[in-house]
Assembly symmetry: C2
Homo-oligomer: 211 residues x 2
DNA sequence: CGGCTTCCAATACAGCCGTATAGCATGTTG
DNA sequence: CAACATGCTATACGGCTGTATTGGAAGCCG
């Protein structure tokens, strides 16, 4: 035993394949509308194997939750804490790997996943602390942080409509650039954090010049 | 014949009751997860009656779509075009009647309703025209309008999380006030339209003083 | 009053869903 | 080599879902 998960984490084991396919289908159609048989079919395995690896549909869903949460925490750490936002190759790497996970997160927020709700609350708390740090007035930081979080995630949740209205895939290179810049244009810089705003702006500009 | 829909439109006929209950359940759980039997149960009628009035689940869903769309168009006309945004009783009236319909709209946007998609596109077009009217530069008005629309609707779609993070119901009097003001704080006024921004701000303030 | 339409409930049914079970290779362990 | 754990498939089953059908009650019209 203990032989599971042979080498790395993003390999092509059947288990990982099932999880990835499930995330994509859950994101597109919702959890309830996605059948285990459809997942198995898309992953090229039998329905029984899905159950073998994850026990039940609900447990499969939780596995998807945990996977996307750990990924996002990782990227946020690398991007913000480790000051990688200015590096175009980092922005490009995220743009390539993140889409399926972001789409799943958007759906999970609406489908009532506890893990997604927890992530939302965490984002609000971090944002509220950021706002309070830059503005010591008695403004309603909690409400501002909540609205800011919901607005940003709203773009993720409504990615399909955003892409259609834009005429370009939100998660394509041009779409991400246009939406990112529009966000920076629309929101008052002091609420993104002046420093973070500047870093994001320059990172986005560099990324735009590269193409 | 021709006796259907006796007097007004918002009466308590079984047909209207079924539609309203369906909208609430669709909004809470999604269309696929909501059964016709559950709708009939909540409306106090037999499952057969649901089919009698709407034919099929899909047609019931379309009826919900049309109902919410006509309502929203009506309120937007009264609020913006007829300059009612400053009147606190108008804001209060909307706050009382809109919630179930807004919740349904939020779900419809994610569940892939064609009608909701059309409304999104329409909102983007109107917003883009507004932006272009106030700014003749070669800025990316289309992207800004799309992002602005998605962010605003994002609050609706994520109302459950917003309410939880706020500690108050988004559609309660205090919640609507706090979120409305936070939105006006966060977004650069010129993108709401300077005049509209001012009107919304004063309307919100009056509404806040009243309580 | 007889006929017709509308509103509604009860029952029936075919299909699909999640899941339990049994079985078969493969390769690892003791 | 024997025993066993693992990755996987095939089949079966109970329950639920959408919907078709049937029939009855109430009200209008001629």
């Amino acid at each position: 035993m203990l032989n599971m998960r042979p080498v790395s984490d993003d390999d092509l084991t059947a288990r990982a394949r099932i999880r990835d396919v499930a995330m994509a289908l859950f994101a597109e159609q919702g959890v309830k509308a996605t059948t285990i048989r459809a997942i198995a079919d898309a992953a090229g395995v039998s329905p029984g194997l899905v159950q073998h690896h994850f026990g039940s549909k609900e447990e499969l869903r939780q596995a998807c939750d945990e996977h996307v949460l750990s990924y996002i925490r990782e990227q946020v750490t690398e991007g913000i804490t480790d000051h990688n936002l200015e590096r175009p190759e980092f922005v490009e790497a995220v743009r390539r790997t993140a889409p399926p996970l972001m789409k799943y997160l958007g759906r999970a927020l609406v489908d009532g996943s506890p893990a997604a709700a927890a992530m939302f609350d965490e984002l609000v708390s971090v944002t509220a602390a950021n706002l309070a740090r830059g503005d010591h007035s008695d403004a309603d930081h909690r409400a501002r942080a909540t609205v800011l979080t919901a607005m940003k995630l709203g773009i993720t949740v409504l990615h399909e409509h955003v892409s259609r209205a834009l005429g370009t895939d939100l998660y394509g290179p041009q779409g991400a650039l246009r939406v990112g810049q529009a966000q920076l244009d629309l929101i008052r810089p002091e609420f993104v954090g002046l420093e973070l705003h500047e870093r994001a702006r320059t990172g986005l500009d560099k990324f735009g010049e590269q193409r």
